[in-house]
Symmetry: C2
Subunit: 253 residues, 2 copies
């Protein structure tokens, strides 16, 4: 029943508990206070306290329990949707300066493959965008996107050289909700090689992405090709089913 600021009690508790773990106030590897102690400290019932603890448990910040208080853990959080989807936001979170050179943006009729992936009729209008993405001014990735026309039309009112398309689409209230990334490796083609300044046949990390709305309607189909030296993807996995994903700058070695 703490002084309400209109956000639910269990959320405030969860944020406070997380702060204590990350600040070391609740040291890593040591048991946290018991639920009854927390109830007493915050003057609440067990319900909100347990909800808050369950949230931290699902994020890997608390482990163990049953008969004894759980133990605090510092856990690397999963990268949020925006960081994972937007090159610009990703670059900033890893402390690099994003950049881009637009190679082409055009209204076209959908190719059979793109139409199939986007759930469109063959020949339906789409907007295709090709950009070379830079990290600190150095080529890092070649991005080929095909947008459903209803979304892609916004690109003509917007200079794709100036910043994040993802942020622009959010401003236009496009319902970007879900993305499926398929990761594999390909050899650089002629076009890739020229733009990324590598040799034909060099390995590239390819990420094909299908972005959909909250209703499951496809909005964007993309093919991003990274220089392996510039980016890696990580998947963390535990036996209890917790998953942490991330995109990082490759380690120098």
């Amino acid at each position: 029943m703490k002084t309400s600021e209109d956000t639910p009690l269990h959320q405030r508790l969860g944020a406070e508990f997380l702060r204590r773990i990350e600040s070391g106030e609740w040291p890593e590897g040591r048991p946290v206070p018991s639920e009854s102690q927390l109830c007493a400290e915050f003057g609440t019932s067990r319900g909100p306290v347990r909800q808050a603890l369950a949230l931290l448990r699902s994020e890997g910040n608390l482990v163990g329990g049953r008969g004894k208080p759980p133990v605090a853990r510092r856990a690397t959080p999963s990268q949020p949707f925006a960081t994972f989807l937007s090159f610009t936001q990703w670059a900033r979170t890893i402390g690099r300066e994003p950049g881009q050179t637009t190679i082409e943006v055009a209204r076209r009729r959908a190719s059979p493959e793109a139409a199939a992936r986007l759930g469109l009729a063959e020949g339906a209008p789409v907007v295709e965008l090709v950009r070379l993405r830079l990290l600190d001014g150095v080529p890092a990735m070649l991005e080929r996107s095909t947008f459903v026309y209803e979304v892609g039309r916004y690109l003509f009112d917007f200079d794709p050289d100036t910043g994040s398309i993802y942020e622009e689409l959010l401003r236009r209230e496009v319902d970007l909700h879900h993305a499926r990334h398929t990761i594999d490796a390909v050899a650089a083609q002629q076009h890739d090689a020229e733009l990324l300044q590598i040799a034909v046949g060099d390995p590239l990390l390819r990420v094909r992405r299908l972005t959909t709305s909250s209703q499951g309607e496809p909005l964007e189909d993309a093919d991003d090709r990274y220089l392996p030296a510039m980016a890696t993807f990580t998947i963390e996995n535990t036996i209890e089913g917790r998953t942490v994903i991330g995109r990082y700058r490759s380690e120098e070695d």
Copy 2:
């Protein structure tokens, strides 16, 4: 308060609700029964019902709510830890026959790089394993693993050609709990190319894996190199933070 079979009520409810969604008894896109109706049907209080619904919500099987009952969705589940970690189990889940040819298994002194990743002193004993992994008898991946000696010693009592090391280690009660997969692309070296029957320089999908115990102690450091035509990794991501991961056979195209 349903006839107890010693598993908690909310788990039984969650399993039953999931069954109804996947069977179509609760059709996709349609609102599910209200909590009070479910309470009446199962003769329980709201607590367990809400716990069960929250579980399904966290797995993407229920969306919406607040003021009206949530809507059912069929969601692809995240691949479990075992499927993601074990080539053998993965192959079986996608309906292929796993196979392997052991190239070498040896007790060595850790290289500086491996020692650093495994948190060992340089020169500490480790067990190195190199296997060519097959799908339906065709080369698919080259696996190079370095095990901490305490774990790797079991490999000498076990023929790595006969099956899953992961399952064998579980039988020995090795505490495999957490894995961090780092995905990038590399060019095939001489050794890779010979074993995988490709040309030197061809692109390979590389997955470096660090497997740790529940206490965070490193157990295995691996470098798996997949033929791009044989496997892809997928990451699904939503704006609410739900994540689904998977490893799949590449599509033919």
